[in-house]
């Protein structure tokens, strides 16, 4: 069972009378790319948030490498090595690109300036972030632009680049390519594959079925707040999966 | 005396500027004091620079104002200090530059910090109404104390004076309750209403000033208790004396803000004319008890007299 890196059992979350998660299970294996697909409002983002401490589930349990964990905040999850791109991005719009990329992990100058005066190494960080944005194929006119002046895609790239830069154990991405162009999307898919090659499992939420079938090892189908099936792209067609996802077909019909 | 500076155009003192530093002018008492000072100065052909503390106790603004006046080379400053010690260094700085500093209404500690002082003894004022209240109070007095921030010098003086005159101390069982007002009608009324709710038997009301007394009276009237309680106050503004006349206030201790200012300006005039400094130390500008129900052994004047000698708008 140690090959299950991240698991969840029976997660439930109610908001008043809205049911966002309804006895939901989840399994992520070592070294795999797991796609999560589901209708709008199915509860995918809520699941991700629960897995990463951004939402506290009403009930259910979460296990990391078989050990139960209780994340009280995103920081707890991050400390357990889980890096996440949230759908709402979680970028600070008043800060610039570099500040966002290094938020919470700032680099300090070498020597006294850094250790005693705790001075940031801005040139190094600026170089680093320019490189990371470029790696994603994203063009920005100045690395010092504040995030609220960025285009939708540039903004999303900032959030993705941050995770790419810091991933250590599990990478979770909630619709990381929604606002990205063709080329930039491919860049991110390559990034995801690179991460897997480095041995880290990736959870990818996406509405783009071709992308999912292109990179995923397994596909978690989410519907009405719970996982209703797990399929493999090799043995299930997009059409079948979408039919299950939207409720046109029963999951049992998948074999 | 120094009238060579008048319209005759003599260069001597025609471009004299004096500074007037008052407490917060929201209190008409200080407004009256400032205006009387200014009027007296203008009558002598002087220019004035004026400043006021923003709120009671705001000595910082006064320090700043005096610094600005020194920079502007005033010849003298009439100061109503917001704090007895906070202004000492800046006053010293002014005097070191040859500026005559006269405090009015309140004093510095030590009193020699200023060249002279024309002030009112607030403790004495409180004592007068305390004695009057004691003498005219019913058998089993229930006292309400409508105070103002007691760290304010005059407020503390009046409060202590009243208790002394009445012959009791803070915490005496005859004190039904106390409340803090902001020295305004509205806060006086709310405070009195709240006290009355708990103690409908209140029959003596000490008020920090006449607006508070008026508010207290409204509260009493609303409850139909206006006849059963005696209100005492301090100030002697015309509106307050009128209230004495109308029976709203039993007695008030009249003070003379205009006089203080005029005396101060006279002293400055003498100094500028021939260099005679005024007599240092406290020159009391006087306090008079105003009531239409005099009691034995306590000197007082009637509201008629009061209306002729009061300050502020009649």
């Amino acid at each position: 069972m140690t090959d299950l890196i991240l698991q969840a059992r029976g997660l439930t979350k109610h908001y008043g009378h809205v049911v966002a998660m309804d006895n939901c299970d989840f399994d992520l294996r070592a070294g795999e790319i797991l796609a999560v697909i589901g209708d709008n409002g199915a509860g995918k983002s809520t699941l991700i948030k629960a897995l990463t401490g951004a939402v506290i589930p009403d009930s259910g349990e979460i296990l990391v490498k078989g050990e139960p964990v209780h994340f009280r905040s995103p920081l707890d999850a991050r400390r357990a090595g889980i890096e996440t791109v949230y759908q709402e991005l979680g970028v600070a719009t008043a800060l610039d690109i570099t500040q966002n990329l290094y938020l919470g992990r700032e680099q300090r100058r070498k020597g006294l300036l850094g250790t005693v005066f705790r001075k940031l190494d801005k040139p190094a960080m600026r170089q680093g972030s320019a490189r990371q944005m470029a790696d994603l194929g994203i063009r920005v006119q100045s690395i010092r632009q504040k995030v609220d002046t960025l285009s939708g895609g540039q903004r999303q790239a900032v959030a993705v680049a941050r995770v790419a830069a810091w991933a250590t154990s599990v990478v979770i991405m909630d619709e990381p390519t929604a606002a990205l162009g063709v080329r930039e999307t491919n860049q991110v898919l390559q990034l995801i594959e690179r991460v897997r090659e480095n041995g880290l499992p990736v959870v990818l939420i996406s509405h783009n079925m071709p992308n999912v079938w292109q990179v995923a090892d397994r596909i978690h189908i989410h519907r009405l707040g719970r996982r209703i099936a797990v399929v493999e792209p090799g043995s299930t067609t997009m059409e079948e999966a979408v039919a299950v996802m939207t409720g046109a077909k029963q999951p049992e019909a998948l074999a | 005396g120094s009238d060579d500076s008048g319209s005759s155009g003599g260069e001597g003192t025609s471009d004299v500027t004096i500074g007037i530093v008052e407490l917060n002018l929201s209190n008409p008492f200080f407004g009256t004091l400032q205006k009387a000072t200014e009027a007296a100065a203008t009558a002598k052909g002087w220019k004035t620079m004026k400043a006021e503390a923003k709120v009671p106790g705001d000595s910082a603004t006064q320090v700043t104002a005096i610094e600005n006046m020194i920079a502007n080379k005033v010849k003298a400053i009439v100061l109503d200090p917001a704090n007895p010690t906070a202004l000492n260094p800046v006053v010293k700085k002014a005097r070191d530059q040859g500026i005559l500093v006269i405090t009015v209404n309140a004093t510095l500690t030590p009193i020699e910090g200023a060249d002279a002082t024309f002030a009112t003894d607030n403790t004495a004022a409180g004592k007068l109404i305390g004695q009057w209240a004691k003498a005219s109070a019913p058998a089993n007095p229930r006292i309400a104390m409508l105070d103002f921030d007691l760290s304010d010098g005059p407020a503390g003086g009046r409060h202590n004076g009243f208790l002394e005159g009445y012959g009791i101390k803070d915490g005496d069982p005859s004190i039904a309750g106390s409340a803090l007002t902001k020295g305004t009608v509205e806060t006086g009324q709310s405070a009195m209403e709240n006290l009355l709710s708990a103690h409908p038997d209140i029959n003596v009301v000490y008020t920090i000033n006449e607006p508070v007394a008026r508010g207290a009276n409204t509260a009493l009237k609303n409850k139909g208790l206006a006849d059963k309680a005696t209100v005492v106050s301090v100030d002697g503004a015309c509106s307050g004396v009128q209230d004495v006349k109308d029976g709203i206030i039993g007695a008030t201790a009249m003070q003379f803000p205009s006089k203080m200012g005029e005396l101060a300006v006279d002293a400055i005039g003498k100094y500028l004319a021939d260099g005679t400094k005024p007599q240092s130390g406290l020159n009391d500008s006087g306090t008079v008890l105003i009531t239409d129900k005099p009691v034995d052994g306590l000197e007082s004047q009637t509201s008629e007299w009061g209306l002729q000698n009061c300050w502020g708008e009649k």
Partner: protein
């Protein structure tokens, strides 16, 4: 895939609620109760219970009606303040506007033309509301500074206008709000009725009219509101003007409460009104809250002052108590509210 399928067949366990959701079933009153004002109400009830238990004189009809009367001036100001705060603004000048209006009324009324005086007071409020509104809406200046500047100007203006004297008000019409039907020792003044009436009207305007929706939209996110084609500036202006009308009513209330127009009165009414608004559950960041909460918030503030006096607490300790209790009141509010959304 049409609506029938979505609302019908597809809508299984999770979706029985698109149109007829639970709130609908429970009725609007309960919905309102459960959402916005539960917090402030809990705090108010708690305060009342505590003071009733610890003092003899607090819980009697006379005192309770007194509390209502003592709340009307700041309470009415706080209604206008709520509108401004809902747009993410703040009005530090409301007390000063009211005071200037009341001294203008007091001065003009000495000639005997009380209705004219009252209208002049309204005009004063409208002009100043317009000033605030134009500076905030048209010039996009921060409301905090604009209204602080106006406060400073008006405080001085009221003193200059009155020569720092106060006017006793004798006109029965001007002090009419202090009267009202009495039952035993308990008077329900017209002022209290007016206050509640204004709350109802503004509550209606905020929740039942298009204007109200726009006020919330502008306060929530002015950029988004502008993108949807809302005239943000005009909405802001309308808010400052409506608030000004409410301040004029507050001036009338003030003349009824203390039949004196006093240029130095109500100097902390601005902060008090903000306190009432915030305790009432309206967010200083705009877009969330409402006037009913504010009414309760104003009552809470008065209850604290009244109850502490009833309890015979020394005036300085009263100030200590008020500070602590105000914080506890918002803590209760906060606690109740987060429990709900969990």
């Amino acid at each position: 895939m049409g609506s029938a399928e979505l609302l019908g067949r597809e809508v299984t366990k999770l979706d029985d609620a698109v149109l007829l959701d639970k709130e609908d079933r429970a009725g609007p009153l309960r919905a309102a109760l459960s959402s916005q004002i539960a917090g402030p109400l809990a705090a108010l009830v708690l305060a009342v219970v505590i003071f009733s238990a610890t003092t003899d004189s607090f819980l009697n009809p006379g005192n309770l009606s007194l509390i209502a009367q003592q709340s009307v001036v700041v309470g009415t100001l706080a209604l206008g303040q709520t509108l401004v705060i809902l747009t993410a603004g703040i009005d530090l000048s409301n007390g000063a506007i009211m005071v200037l209006a009341s001294v203008v009324i007091g001065n003009l009324a000495t000639d005997g033309n009380v209705l004219g005086a009252l209208l002049a007071g309204l005009a004063v409020c409208l002009v100043l509301g317009l000033l605030n509104g134009v500076l905030v809406a048209q010039f996009s200046l921060p409301p905090f500074i604009v209204t602080l500047g106006v406060l400073s100007v008006l405080t001085a203006a009221a003193r200059l206008y009155t020569d720092s004297q106060s006017y006793p008000i004798t006109s029965e019409f001007l002090t009419a709000l202090n009267g009202g039907p009495a039952f035993g020792g308990v008077t329900i003044t017209y002022g209290v009725m007016l206050w509640i009436g204004l709350t109802a009207i503004l509550g209606y305007a905020l929740t039942q009219t298009a204007w109200g929706v726009r006020v919330y939209a502008v306060g929530d996110n002015p950029r988004a509101a502008a993108l949807t084609g809302i005239k943000v500036k005009r909405v802001l202006l309308s808010v400052y003007l409506t608030a000004a009308v409410v301040y004029a009513f507050a001036a009338w209330q003030a003349l009824g409460r203390t039949p004196t127009a006093d240029p130095s009165g109500y100097s902390t009414a601005n902060l008090d009104s903000i306190t009432a608004v915030v305790i009432g559950g309206t967010s200083l960041f705009g877009g969330r809250g409402g006037v009913v909460g504010t009414l309760i918030g104003a009552l809470i503030v008065t209850v604290l002052a009244n109850g502490l006096t009833q309890a015979g607490i020394d005036s300085l300790y009263q100030q200590v108590g008020t500070g602590i209790l105000v914080v506890i009141a918002v803590a209760v509010d906060h606690f109740v509210r987060t429990r709900q959304t969990r």
